[in-house]
Amino acid sequence: MSTRKASRRDERERIALLQGTLDLLILRTLVFGAQHGQGIARAIETQSDDTLLVDHGSLYPALQRLEERGWIDAEWGVSDNNRKARFYTLTREGRKQLTAQARQWRRLSAVIGRILGPEEA
């Protein structure tokens, strides 16, 4: 009973990703090399110390979108545990986008941070 309550609070404290940021995080994850969808989701979650919650359902449309824009490439390959999966890699254009968007994001978060001011007590 108590564990369920705790885990529920856990869920609540995790942040649903803002629209648009998922794309940025996907690109960022792929900097470290080719990865399949589940791996990308897992990477985002672990790198954010499980603070960010990736909706696996919207992950694939996002991948699809990025692929259509030519920011990532995809091909079928075999995973570490020998399973067939679709692996995504960053394209040159994707790398450029990542740089640009990351810069914008940093500026935005700084500004928003400044507007919001220090955390209220």
Binding site: G37, Q38, D55, E68, N81, R83
Partner: protein, 889 residues
């Protein structure tokens, strides 16, 4: 690189398997790991659907989202949406209405197959004889040209349109009939709806082909579409003819403004025009000649091929010339060119009369639309400044600028579409109103107020253009500022300066454009006023006119005179009528007859215009119209046919030939009747006759009895009662004389004069409307910009007032800005207004297109309206409470 659904499904399957494996590795129960992985994934079907949609139509999906967003934002801000839609509806509605007329009158080709192959023939230059219309040829000339046309034209035909009196069972009605040569229907490519159309076999022997074809529209209106009409008889001008068929629907003859009810063979000319014989006469020019190009042949080639024959025909033509030509005149006659012109639209007086006014109106509505666009752009920018932060955040979150611009343009397009729909509703009723303003004989019946596909297409194109026009700049500006907008402290003043400057530029542009329309409206209004204040030279009130055609209704020769005399007696006898009379040429209907005169003792210079206007009138005509007799006498019953030929001349003619002496008893003759002396028995004051526009030319009257064959007769009734009381009595009088006689153009002289100025009235009232619209739009624009400026400067104004600024000086400060904008707009608009004036010069009367008074008045009106529009924000500025203004920030 299209992926199919299976591929995507496999990927999801792989994902779920990998996730389940991970869960197991983390110690999850293997039995439920898969379920947990699936649960974490969420709705697999939904994901696949999303894949499916995005994959298929990302673009369409985005569009749907954008439209939904636009609709949502319109709902959120209904005031803005309503203002924008109404403004656009006015602009687009006015454009669609004028376009509808322009399209019907100027643009649309004849409803025949491959209309662009049709050509018209013309031969401008020297001629001798009678001519009945422009660009006409004699019948022998047509036959001759047609004989040579086969190598270049697949068909050549001649046509002549005229009025006719048609009776089926006693009741006569006036209709329009088109006399056509044998190749008319074949060349145009028009077949029968029922029965047959006319062909070469109906074009062989004069008077031997008493057959007619009905137009589809006439068949419907007169015979209710009865298929039994084929083979039935009717009387055309009293001449028995047989209906052989009905032409295909939609085709109403070759002249747009004068739709034909009936088609009859050219060979039946003597029945169609009983008072003059035109077949086989080189001296009668009456036929419009047209043809259809053979494939690959150009009009120039046709002209070149026909020219050889034309020279030979002209030489033959010249043999029958009845007057002596000088060698130069002879060379000019024989050397006149043969022109082959594009004929896809047929020919129409309506088009000639209407093209300049319609183009001027098109120009005006285009300016109105431009003004509307500027206003909506203003509105959008004012609104964008409040949305700037939202946009900047969205951009920072990764929304591409292109995507945002597209989103905003979609919103513009949604607004423009709503405006277009509303505008089309406005257009339909406006067009109906406009057509209602046209007189029947100017072709009102040929025009339709229905909104057809072409008008809808035009309006849709306008919607796209306007959406770009008013949406692109605000969209680019709104999305251009990027993260700058997020800088703390910039708050709402954001882009303030730059934006305010742009708004001002737009307002100046609006005032400049408005000046064009207001000045135009002023010029047209003054033209109409000038025209209206012209004295025609006779009293126009308490005067009725009605017209009949004698010869077309069985009154030949002396019978027509008898009819005229009887009807005149009946009309005079009506209680309240003070005088009644008759003339062959109707006043104020642009009708005239010309004759070349020779005067004893007057030697004209070479090339001197010796043409005089002529009108045949009954006794009492001058008294009925109220044209003062200055010398001599009026015609009397003793001025009979066969007696001494007499004439009453106007002052212009008297002064030209007999200046300083009495013209009474002097003699002159007509060139066409050499040797017949006409004695001047009276002189009348000059009066305008054909219309108010044209200067008085030399003219003379002859007695009806000495006029020759009579057909069209116009009666005038002068009375001292009300029109309403006299009209029924006049009708009864006509019925007493002949119950079957069709009467037409029965109206008061005042409405006849008003009708003769219909183009001026139409243009003047429409341009006034557009001018008002422009003023309104400019005022709203200026008001908006100044309100915005005052709101932004509240703090500054508050400080000034706290420091002791006078309220009046604050008011004046704002008003001064308004006046600067207004004057700047006027100064910029002046050259354009002066330039545009040149384009409408031909439509003006009695004033120059650069008329300084009118343009100065327009400028003054604009500045006054601007001051008025700026007054409210200025008052608001004056009432700023410094305490509140300073605390707010």
């Amino acid at each position: 690189m299209t992926r199919n659904d299976d591929d995507f499904a496999r990927e999801i399957e792989a994902h779920v398997a990998l996730e389940a494996e991970r869960l197991v590795a983390e110690g999850h129960d293997p039995a439920s790991a898969r379920t947990a992985a699936l649960k974490k994934f969420g709705n697999v079907t939904k994901a696949r659907e999303r894949f499916h949609e995005s994959h298929r139509n990302m673009w369409l999906e985005d569009l749907r989202k954008d439209v939904a967003l636009a609709l949502r934002s319109m709902r959120r801000n209904p005031g803005f949406a309503t203002a924008a839609i109404l403004t656009l509806a006015l602009g687009i509605g006015a454009n669609a209405a004028i376009f509808s007329l322009t399209d019907q009158v100027l643009l649309r080709p004849l409803p025949v197959p491959r209309p662009h192959e049709l050509v018209l023939l013309d031969s401008p230059g020297m001629y001798q004889g009678s001519t009945r219309g422009q660009q006409t040829f004699s019948e022998p000339m047509f036959r001759g040209l047609r004989g040579a046309s086969a190598p270049v034209l697949s068909g050549m035909f001649a046509r002549f349109g005229t009025g006719a009196s048609v009776s089926t069972d006693g009741d006569a009605a006036r209709v329009r009939i088109e006399a056509v040569s044998g190749d008319y229907f074949r060349t145009l490519g028009i077949g029968p709806a029922i029965g047959r159309v006319l062909g070469p076999d109906d074009d062989r022997t004069p008077d031997a082909h008493p057959v007619v074809v009905l137009s589809h529209a006439y068949w419907q209106s007169r015979f209710g579409g009865d298929p039994g009409v084929v083979g039935r008889g009717l009387r055309v001008n009293g001449f028995p003819m047989t209906i052989v068929g009905v032409a295909a629907p939609g085709f109403n003859g070759f002249d747009l403004g004068r739709p034909s009810d009936l088609f009859a063979p050219l060979m039946m000319d003597s029945a169609l025009t009983p008072t003059w014989k035109s077949l086989n006469d080189w001296r009668e020019r009456w036929l419009h000649v047209s043809g259809r190009l053979r494939p690959g042949v150009t009009p120039e080639r046709v002209a070149a091929v026909l020219d050889v024959t034309y020279r030979r025909l002209l030489a033959e033509d010249f043999k029958t010339v009845r007057v002596r030509f000088s060698p130069e005149e002879r060379a000019e006659f024989l050397g006149k060119p043969l022109e082959v012109l594009p004929g896809a639209k047929g020919r129409s007086q309506l088009r000639t009369d209407f093209s300049t006014p319609l183009l001027a109106l098109m120009g005006m509505v285009a300016v109105v639309l431009l003004l509307a666009c500027v206003n909506v752009a203003n509105l959008m920018m004012a609104r964008a400044s409040t949305q700037q932060q939202e946009l900047a955040v969205r951009q920072a979150l990764g929304a591409g600028r292109f995507r945002l611009v597209r989103q905003r343009l979609t919103e513009s397009l949604v607004l423009a579409s709503a405006g277009t729909l509303t505008g089309l509703l406005i257009a339909s009723s406006t067009t109906r109103l406009l057509i209602g303003m046209l007189p029947e004989d100017a072709g009102a019946s040929a025009l339709s107020a229905a909104i057809d596909l072409r008008v809808i297409g035009f309006a849709m194109a306008l919607a796209v253009v306007t959406a770009l026009g008013f949406g692109l700049l605000p969209a680019l500006r709104a999305t251009g500022s990027r993260a700058a907008a997020l800088r703390p402290g910039t708050g709402r003043v954001l882009g303030g300066r730059k934006q305010a400057r742009l708004l001002r530029v737009l307002v100046v542009a609006q005032i400049a454009l408005s000046l064009l329309l207001v000045a135009g409206a002023g010029l047209f209004a003054r033209s109409l006023y000038n025209l209206r204040s012209i004295e025609p030279g006779f009293a126009t009130d308490h005067l009725l006119q009605l017209r009949i055609t004698a010869a077309l209704n069985g009154y030949a020769g002396p019978q027509a005179l008898l009819l005229a005399s009887r009807l005149r007696q009946e009309l005079t006898a009506i209680a309240g009528v003070t005088a009644a009379s008759v003339a062959t040429v109707p006043a104020m209907m642009n009708g005239f007859g010309f004759q070349t005169v020779r005067v004893q003792g007057y030697d004209p210079a070479t090339g001197e215009d010796m043409n005089s206007m002529i009108n045949s009138v009954g006794p009492g005509y001058l008294a009925t119209l109220g044209v003062p007799l200055l010398q001599g006498r009026d015609f009397t019953d003793s001025d009979v046919d066969g007696g001494q030929r007499v004439a009453i001349v106007n002052e212009t003619m008297a002064n030209r030939f007999w200046k300083g002496e009495s013209p009474i008893g002097r003699r002159f003759s007509r060139q066409s009747e050499t040797g017949v002396e006409i004695e001047v028995v009276g002189v009348v004051r000059d009066s305008r006759f054909a219309n108010l526009r044209d200067e008085v030319t030399m003219s003379y009257y002859i007695p009806l009895t000495q006029s020759g064959p009579l057909n069209g007769l116009t009666f005038y009734v002068r009375h001292r009662a009300t029109d309403a009381a006299i009209v029924p009595a006049v009708r009864q009088a006509v019925t007493r004389v002949d119950p079957r006689l069709p009467v037409y153009d029965f109206r008061t002289m005042e409405s006849q004069i008003a009708e003769s100025m219909y183009i001026e009235r139409l243009v003047s009232s429409l341009s006034a409307l557009f001018g008002l619209l422009a003023l309104g739009l400019a005022a709203v624009g200026l008001y908006g910009v100044m309100s915005h400026a005052v709101a932004q400067r509240r703090r500054e104004i508050g400080i000034r007032m706290a420091l002791g600024a006078e309220r009046m000086s604050v008011l004046w400060n704002v008003l001064r800005q308004v006046l600067v904008l207004a004057v700047a707009g006027v100064v910029l608009g002046l050259p354009a207004a002066l330039g545009a004036g040149q384009l409408i010069e031909s439509l003006l009367f009695g004033l120059a297109p650069r008329d300084p008074a009118t343009i100065a008045a327009a400028a003054a009106v604009l500045i006054a309206v601007a001051a008025l529009a700026g007054y409210i924000p200025a008052m608001r500025a004056m009432r700023v409470d410094p305490v509140i203004a300073l605390r707010d920030e």
